[in-house]
Symmetry: C2
Subunit: 494 residues, 2 copies
């Protein structure tokens, strides 16, 4: 789930479609060992292209065009599921896919698939994906980031440099990663992963304006037979799913840089060298996600007696606001008691009713988010939070009007083979990296139920080079996973 107030990248679709530009390697100094020789790491399955450049300028037009499909004025972007602008943006993406020579299909909720047919199309497919729905006023950042990122036509990328995948490659535009309209995050990927309960629930789901999901989907050209179970993916379709995303956290920026071979590989281009220099000052370039934390969200409501802040004496009070305050602190306490750095818990919403300075709160509403890479440990925290809510309510004489676990998704681990492919790609590109946990959740959490999964992180607030680096690592990883022997230029026609 994208963080509302952080940077959000929607560029994956475009960057995948436009893909990579391979550059020729500089003449090599034979006295210097190769990376493979240094590391002893088997790089023969990884593209030996030691340098990619990602040309931001050529793609700017497309990014600008995508950001123009918005319900809020530029530079912000607001693109709500199945709105007119969402439909226009989908058409734009489908056109890009088609122009790039991808075969395009859509499912009943509007997940869009663009497939680059491999030389062995019967093999299971290597996939990547992202979303284009944008929470209100988020696009300001998307747009700014978008302008900086690679933007080369798909046609150029796919045919101009002659890379030919063995396994087919597929890019997926997931429907409604954001919960803005129907309160369900990762709606498209949850369905792809086979959520029977969601497929059923969607038939009764309405938005804040009482417009049903079915009507909205139909207005956008989907849900024709009202059966969402045909969205479910077959387990054998994908051999891999890899997602590129910003970290949404400070770790990559704040960590000391781990540079690899920065001085032992002088044959790298000046461009790459400069990039390394920047990184050595500012942090780590790439995060290789080993697991996605298991998110759970809880809604709690306490009901008390209320009353006038002056007139009701302290012993007569049943203050629902103080119960909420205690619960917020209890969440923190139980999380810290887990003694694991990977356990987090947050009270992001705490509302008091009636919300007047001279009114004792008669009702309070708390929303809790807790995550862990260990599902059992996280569920233990949830149980303790529940016990605290009950204990606080008894002690304060307030009522627990609601204790609802809104969702309680299991964690996902990246597949070892994909971690290895991402790591190798990073090393080939001579980029600093760090293995890390994704503590935000993404469509990948659900795609992991259908395919070996991996995620690549780039820092939140970095230079255009960082974005380019992420695209390069993704490209190399996908190329490697497509199982083409690319240790030589043989796979490239030019």
């Amino acid at each position: 789930m994208a963080f509302r107030f952080s940077l959000i990248l929607h560029f994956l679709l475009l960057t995948f479609i436009v893909f990579i530009q391979a550059q020729n390697v500089d003449e090599r100094d034979p006295t210097i060992k190769t990376m493979e020789e240094h590391s002893g790491y088997p790089l023969h399955e990884i593209l030996s292209i030691s340098s990619f450049s990602v040309d931001s300028l050529n793609l700017q037009k497309q990014i600008d065009e995508l950001s123009s499909f918005s319900d809020s004025p530029a530079p912000s972007v607001t693109r709500i599921l199945y709105s007119e602008n969402d439909v226009l943006a989908r058409r734009f993406i489908k056109n890009l896919m088609a122009h790039a020579g991808l075969s395009v299909r859509e499912d009943a909720v509007g997940n869009i698939f663009g497939r680059w047919k491999g030389s062995e199309p019967d093999l299971s497919v290597v996939s990547t994906g992202s979303h284009i729905d944008a929470i209100p006023y988020s696009g300001k950042y998307d747009g700014n980031l978008g302008r900086r990122i690679t933007n080369q036509s798909a046609n150029d990328a796919l045919t101009g440099y002659g890379f030919k995948p063995k396994r087919s490659l597929e890019v997926i535009m997931f429907t409604s990663e954001e919960p803005t309209r129907y309160g369900i995050s990762c709606l498209g990927s949850r369905l792809l992963a086979g959520s029977v309960s969601l497929a059923g629930a969607l038939k009764q789901t309405v938005d804040n304006h009482n417009i049903s999901f079915l009507d909205a989907a139909k207005s956008a050209g989907y849900a024709k037979n009202e059966d969402f179970s045909n969205v479910f993916l077959d387990d054998r379709i994908y051999s891999a799913f890899v997602e590129l995303h910003i970290e949404q956290g400070p770790i990559l920026e704040n960590e000391g840089c781990m540079l690899f071979y920065s001085f032992t590989l002088p044959f790298f281009t000046l461009h790459i060298y400069k990039c390394q220099f920047t990184l050595s000052l500012e942090g780590v370039s790439i995060g290789i996600v080993t697991a996605i934390a298991a998110p759970a969200s809880i809604k709690v409501e306490f009901g008390g007696s209320g009353g006038h802040a002056g007139a009701v004496l302290m012993p007569q009070r049943n203050d629902a606001g103080l119960a909420a305050a205690e619960l917020a602190l209890a969440v923190e306490k139980h999380v810290l008691e887990s003694r694991s750095i990977d356990t987090v818990g947050t009270v992001g919403i705490l509302e008091l009713h009636p919300g007047a300075i001279n009114s004792i709160p008669s009702k309070s509403h708390v929303e809790i988010d807790t995550r862990d890479i260990d599902e059992k440990r996280r569920n233990n925290v949830i149980e303790k939070i529940h016990e605290s809510a009950v204990e606080i309510s008894k002690r304060r004489g307030v009522e627990v009007l609601e204790f609802k676990i809104v969702n309680q998704d299991p964690p996902a681990c990246s597949d070892d083979s994909i971690i290895k492919a991402m790591e190798s790609a990073t090393q080939v590109l001579n980029l600093s990296y760090k293995k890390m946990i994704s503590r935000a959740y993404h469509d990948s959490l659900f795609m992991a139920r259908k395919a070996p999964m991996g995620m690549i992180f780039i820092p939140c607030y970095k230079a255009p080079e960082d974005i380019a680096n992420g695209v390069k690592v993704l490209a190399l990883t996908l190329a490697n996973l497509s199982n083409v022997n690319v240790s030589s230029q043989a796979a490239f026609s030019s």
Copy 2:
């Protein structure tokens, strides 16, 4: 300050204007001792009229008419300071005053004074008062209450029963008891009490729509010379100020009843007897206010780092929301540590920014209300709250963006002579009563700076008889304080 979600009485003005209807006493059984004989209490200065009836029906029309001046649909009432409906309601009140034979004047902020000239007009005046501004949608209750209360024309009350005060009696309609429009409660009475700072500040005060207080006051026909210092009252004008109000708390309802002479005075009317019987089951009829608690309000803002609820690990957090939660609990702790039942403290407003389930709060806003009848003790609580805010901010690495004491009014004590008059009136009427603290604050808090003050409470959620009882006690108290010897029917012409 009236409690938004409790019952609010605006009926004082009307009930004063229409005043009381004296009824003849039943023939007395000479074998039964009088209350004076029983108690040994000097009742000779108190009206010996042992029974009043307050006729609700005749006044209903006027109450309905007042409630029709509203910005929200009936049965709710919304009457914002200097709005068109406020101006119309003011005109209605002035007409009532004029028809009742009162001489009417207004000051520069629209406090309205209706004086019933006494037989010795040079003596200082006995006064009472209330307000007619109504917070949004409050009027539903006002209206309902209004219909039940006395509603007899002022002319009838003042001349029909021939009561003639010695000291002049004056009713004051205070401007803006509610802080709705300009955020200043008891605006009119604060100015009457001589607040130089307020008189100055009003010249720069604007509402949420950026309409200045000066412009708004002028549009309503006030503030002609823009000098608010001429509102200040001279210390010698009033010999007493008495206000009737609902308790805004549960004490009168919940207390066991203390009935006086309920069986030793069988000559009371059946009506009164019934009333006593009801009271013996349900609580105490009248609260005699001995002091008004000293209110203070504080605004606190914490600023933290924010971030994604999943991505930012617990040790890296500076959670402004948890700082607010801790401060709310610290308020309760410091209040309880005062070990006085009269100290109260409330966090009625606690807001988190950005207020999303997956966002660590980057900002929090807390509004604290604390009161006591002991100013020093309350100020000590404020100091401890401040120390806690600083300590919490340091420990959690958040910033105290604001710690603002919005107001810090001193408490007020009722005057002994007025307590005595109220008590005697209650005893004469054979009503149960309890001496108590007003923990909500009222215009009386500020009028106490200019005159000996007293307040009469009635229960919040009681029968029409309770309201009638309050009116009777007020009437007898005012009559007594007007210093007329009313131990006989002599003062009444009929």
